[in-house]
């Protein structure tokens, strides 16, 4: 009786999330099946409308063309740097603190900074001009701008996540492999990678999902009417410019399904990765 009594304390938070998170989700799915105009019963008209309209359908391709390459580059670079820093480096605390900045400051500020720094008259282009580059690249208000913004935002996130994960792996495993004569590459491939792979898979999934939902960067540093009209922008426009909440919900559902598909692919690949791993004993401390 008493044991049961205490568990009641989780109820307020659970109730809150059910009302404010689970219910709206269900309501959104329901709404997406009941178009604003036309049939009174449930219908897939919104989804047919979305997939039948090339201008809307294109947003999936646009978003994927941003999210997929960006995620791969971000995770690979973060993995390489975190692995190199696994036993600490000079000024680590200062560097990691600096890296938290873009996460804490948020996308809007980073976007404004990128518009200035990478802009046509920004410091980077001035530097390139000084270096004698004749044909100055255009780095903002296009696809490149969004890629830079997302990388600046998500590289630190992914790096800090992997650094915490990799530094939690027992260093004795690596030392034993070295003592037994394994070269650095073999240590990585046969000992460390199998231990890192689960963390890398989660990091990949998280970064992909965040990239796929890109909104403020795509508007502020991108070209929201064309090259970087992502699926989140399409959903927002339906909801707050056309006031068609039903269609907006349908697009949000499609966006969620795309993110889920990405997760599923990572999980499937992860099964493969584990199968090639050799050392799975003594998995990470945390």
């Amino acid at each position: 009786m008493r044991r049961g009594g205490l568990v009641v304390l989780v109820l307020p938070s659970v109730l809150y999330l059910v009302v404010m998170f689970v219910y709206p989700f269900g309501y959104g799915v329901f709404l997406s099946l009941h178009p604003a105009k036309g049939a009174s019963g449930a219908s897939l008209a919104n989804y047919f409308g979305f997939f039948g309209d090339p201008w809307q359908l294109r947003t999936i391709a646009v978003t994927a063309s941003i999210a997929v390459p960006n995620t791969i580059v971000t995770v690979l670079l973060a993995l390489a740097v975190a692995y190199a820093m696994r036993r600490g480096i000079w000024a680590e605390r200062a560097i990691t603190t600096l890296l938290v900045l873009p996460i804490a400051l948020g996308t809007v500020l980073v976007a404004e900074g990128i518009n200035g720094f990478y802009g046509p008259k920004g410091w980077l282009n001035q530097l390139l001009q000084l270096a004698g580059v004749a044909d100055l690249p255009r780095l903002t208000h296009n696809y490149t701008g969004v890629m830079i913004a997302l990388f600046v935002q998500h590289f630190p996130f992914c790096f800090l996540m992997l650094l915490g994960y990799i530094s939690g792996i027992d260093p004795a495993l690596e030392s034993s492999a070295r003592v037994l004569g394994a070269r650095p590459w073999v240590v990585f491939r046969r000992v460390m990678w199998p231990l890192i792979a689960p963390g890398a898979a989660i990091a990949f999934a998280l970064v992909f999902v965040m990239n796929f939902g890109v909104f403020p960067s795509a508007v502020l540093v991108g070209q929201p009417a064309g090259a970087t009209r992502t699926i989140a922008i399409a959903a927002y426009q339906q909801a707050f410019e056309h006031y068609d909440m039903s269609m907006a919900s349908a697009i949000a559902v499609v966006m969620g399904l795309c993110q889920l598909l990405g997760l599923a692919i990572v999980v499937a690949l992860r099964g493969r990765l584990a199968a090639t791993g050799v050392a799975t004993v003594g998995a990470g401390k945390r």
Binding site: V7, L17, L109, G213, A235, A239, A252
Partner: protein, 271 residues
């Protein structure tokens, strides 16, 4: 030899990336102080008048009041609802525990744009959307789980035998909470509070979807200013950005006294 080249490449990359970060942030700061700045390394003349201009033109007194109200309310509510939950999760096992943990995880995992649109739709339906209350309620959705997951390890560290000892000496349940658990959990509450505070001030998507004319927080007001670039001098937009940056940095510096930077992101492979 090869190892050394490799380390050098990594080091150069880190230096490059941090320089790029410093450049991004300081470009905003320099621009906010420029009288006029066009294609030169530094502006010709400096001025602070853009701050006064931004203060009036962007209605910053009102925006800052909303921001403070939202941040304080979300923090208080997240701790109030989150602490009991973290306590139970740390102390007891129960049948639906995994389902409850999943429920706490999802709002942190799913991007805000995905669940924000249905959430906004339902809140506008009940006429809560567009108000300060709506912004607070929506922000609490990801912040409550954040508070719970930050608090959890802190509560786990409090030895249960201390509570038993207090009970043996005749303390009631409330007294145990008030005199034993709460003082020991104070560092955790402070850490969780600061992290929720900085995340709420910087949280864009949900606030953006839920806020109306009188309920914009600073970061949303900044978004609209950047979005409508050209309406007002860019220097005044950057002045507002610097004010925003100052507030976030202040809370961040306080938060970093308690947590390591690596703890600011998801704990991978944790519970």
């Amino acid at each position: 030899m090869r190892g050394r080249v490799w380390r050098l490449v990594v080091f150069v990359f880190i230096v490059g990336f941090t320089l790029n970060l410093v450049g991004i942030v300081s470009h905003v700061a320099v621009s906010s102080l420029a009288r006029r700045w066009f294609a030169t390394p530094l502006p010709g003349a400096f001025t602070t008048e853009w701050y006064a201009y931004a203060w009036h033109e962007f209605q910053l007194p009102q925006v800052l009041t909303v921001t403070a109200t939202v941040a304080a309310s979300v923090t208080a509510l997240a701790l109030l609802l989150g602490f009991p939950a973290a306590y139970v999760l740390a102390r007891r096992g129960f049948r639906a525990k995994n389902a409850v943990l999943l429920l706490y995880f999802l709002p942190l995992l799913i991007p805000q744009m995905t669940y924000g649109i249905p959430l906004a739709t339902s809140l506008y339906r009940y006429r809560i959307g567009g108000t300060v209350a709506g912004v607070i309620l929506a922000n609490l959705v990801p912040m409550l789980p954040l508070a719970i997951f930050v608090l959890l390890p802190f509560v786990e560290q409090i030895s249960e035998s201390l509570e038993w000892a207090a009970r043996v000496h005749g303390a009631g349940r409330w007294q145990v909470f008030r005199r034993v658990v709460l003082p020991l959990a104070l560092p955790g509450l402070l850490t969780a509070g600061l992290l929720v505070l900085v995340n709420t001030v910087a949280n864009f998507e949900l606030t953006f979807l839920l806020s109306g004319a009188g309920s914009q927080t600073l970061v949303v007001a900044l978004y609209y200013a950047v979005f409508a670039a050209g309406m007002r001098p860019i220097y005044s937009v950057d002045a507002m950005a610097v004010i925003y940056m100052g507030i976030v940095l202040l809370i961040l510096v306080a938060a970093l006294r308690f947590v390591r930077p690596t703890q600011m992101v998801f704990r991978l492979g944790g519970k």
